[in-house]
């Protein structure tokens, strides 16, 4: 196993990785910025290196500083880097640099990171490997006439997306031909401003889908396994808030089918490490959206129902071991739900940084709290507002919901506002219990319920 792993991340995910490293007897190096020197990940790691000030919008300082992070490996003698999620996790140039210098990047090859980062190329490779995709037109969209032709061919409504994009920027939904030209021009402008690349593509709009994603692991030598799906349909502006597994709308036959399709595709690529194949799911059909070549925020729910440590598997695969499990070994037991505890004031989701005077973590049977909070910790305003993930595991969905409600009641992050009131309202809603919703449902629900969410 590796001797020493540097974790190029912060917050709860850095802690998550440090914990597995400790259990494996692997030494850990934390990196941090000047505002994060009191963070839990710095306290828990064996060593810590300050890599800069918090990044301002246009700089590549601190957690994004490739040079400082690689140099931190050099001065501490770390033999591998775990990137966590975000920051440098899906930067193929970074992967290349790290591997070139003789440090192992815990994740897929630079080539696979690059491939999946290019949304169009990813789609065409996955399609060629038998993965169902949203019907779309990716090339020959240089003139408005060609765009009209493509939209007619696909059938309205359609969506225009930036080739280099992500996160909702450069995206335009178009319901009828009269809206098309304006949407096309705006999407190109936004794509150019946001990503320095004005290329766009057009897809049939899957309007009322659910977000279903398949967790996969590949050993880099053509073997792979899947860990079923996660249902991440409860989201706001493309930000997931609550995830669960198994999905209330997927049965075991469908799970096996789509899982096998994903495994076949990543096996043929020779994919190494953990990955997530994301789909929109509507009326019994899966439509590939993208593949994330990293550990996901919501990975713990999969760990709970399958009884595996995905970070341990990542480390073992990166070290050159074979897969620990065969597909037959894996069985989904019970139901798990994750609620993302963000330091935000609902219903507006305004960030609420500040000093935590009192933190109390819920506990008891089937409760897991992955959080970097502690009494007296100051949540800095510089980063993502995710401060914890409350994960519950129970025999079935209704038991898991009851457990989540119980655990939410035990969680205290005083005096910081969090997303807890949102979940408390949500899990009392009949429509949530009936799991009758799509990816847009939560936004409408928040508008509807509005004031009830305050405090």
């Amino acid at each position: 196993m590796f001797e020493k792993v540097l974790i190029a991340n912060r917050g709860e995910i850095a802690l998550r990785i440090i914990r597995t490293c400790k259990e494996l007897g692997v030494s850990t190096v934390a990196v941090h910025t000047t505002v994060d020197q009191d963070s839990m990940h710095v306290r828990m790691a064996d060593e810590a290196v300050c890599v800069g000030r918090p990044a301002s919008v246009n700089t590549r300082e601190s957690y994004l500083s490739e040079r400082n992070i690689i140099a931190a490996c050099e001065i501490t003698g770390a033999d591998a880097i775990h990137p966590g999620y975000g920051f440098l996790a899906e930067n193929s140039e970074f992967v290349e640099k790290v591997n070139e210098i003789g440090i192992k990047f815990i994740g897929p090859s630079a080539e696979h990171v690059r491939l999946m980062g290019d949304k169009i190329e990813a789609k065409s490779v996955m399609r060629a490997n038998g993965v169902p995709c949203v019907p779309g037109v990716e090339t020959g969209l240089e003139s408005i006439d060609e765009v009209h032709g493509a939209a007619r061919f696909l059938g309205y409504p359609v969506i225009i997306k930036a080739t280099a994009g992500g996160g909702g920027r450069g995206m335009r939904q178009v319901k009828s031909p009269t809206e098309l030209e304006q949407a096309y021009v705006q999407a190109r402008q936004e794509a150019h401003a946001g990503f320095g690349d004005s290329r766009v593509y057009i897809e049939k709009l899957v309007t009322n889908g659910r977000h279903i994603e398949i967790q996969v692991l590949g050993d880099g030598r053509g073997n792979s396994i899947h860990f079923g799906e996660r249902d991440c349909t409860i989201q706001r502006r493309h930000q997931k808030l609550l995830e669960e597994t198994p999905s209330p709308v997927i049965d075991s036959r469908m799970r096996e089918e789509i899982g096998e399709i994903c495994c076949k595709a990543i096996s043929s690529l020779g994919y190494e490490g953990a990955g997530t194949v994301e789909f929109l799911y509507q009326s019994g059909k899966f439509y590939f959206i993208e593949m994330n070549t990293r550990l996901q925020v919501e990975h713990p729910i999969t760990e709970m129902v399958y009884g595996v440590d995905l970070v341990e598997e990542q480390l073992r695969i990166a070290y050159g071991h074979e897969l620990t499990f065969s597909q037959e070994d894996l069985e989904c037991r019970g139901h798990a739900i994750e609620a993302r505890i963000n330091a935000e004031t609902v219903p507006g989701f305004v960030p609420c940084p500040g000093r935590v005077e009192l933190f109390h973590s819920p506990g008891g049977l089937g409760v897991r709290m992955d959080s970097n909070l502690y009494n007296g910790y100051t949540i800095p305003p510089n980063y993502d507002s995710l401060v914890g993930k409350l994960i519950v595991h129970a025999v079935d969905r209704s038991a898991a919901i009851a457990r989540l409600e119980r655990a939410l009641g035990e969680l205290i992050v005083h005096p910081i506002n969090t997303t807890v009131p949102l979940f408390q309202q949500l899990i009392r809603d009949e429509r949530f219990h009936a799991s009758d919703y799509n990816v847009h449902w939560l936004e409408n629900w928040i508008e509807e319920i509005g004031e009830k969410l305050r405090g």
């Binding site: 196993m1 400790k22 259990e23 494996l24 007897g25 000047t34 505002v35 020197q37 009191d38 306290r43 828990m44 290196v49 300050c50 890599v51 800069g52 000030r53 601190s62 040079r67 400082n68 992070i69 690689i70 140099a71 931190a72 050099e74 001065i75 501490t76 640099k97 210098i101 341990e312 073992r316 071991h321 074979e322 897969l323 620990t324 502690y374 007296g376 100051t378």
Partner: protein, 160 residues
Amino acid sequence: MPGDKKTLALVARLTDVLNRQQLDEIEVERTRGEFDSLRVRIKRTKQPAPERKPKAPTETSSRLRNSLLAPTVGDSETDDFAAGTVRSEMVGTAYLKASPDAPKPFVRIGQAVEEGDPILIIEAMKTMNQILSPHSGIVVKVLVDDGEPVQFGTALMVIH
């Protein structure tokens, strides 16, 4: 029969080996007669569980406790730095000389430097980065040793 007892003991021992070594199968074929023969075949399809050598838990918990009891440092950028302190903007290894066999370091205590004069080198990613004095003055302190690793914010020298 005494032979049965022996066989049972052998099976028990083999089971123990099977479990401890995480094997799937052990096949033993023993023929007694004019020519005794013994054939053993072992099979393992599963990977052995990873070796775990966690550090002493008491060490971890006392370190964590001490760290949480210590007053928080806060944002160092608001701290009042001694005037004239030159801090590292990079992570890497500091070198006080231009090369290992250079006869003397870039600067010595008591030496006058101009703004822009090289004062040391920081190596990062196999690249030597010359660090220039941010202001003119006299070198009062050299706070790092030759070959010492430095982080972002490490105090390198004091130049008044």
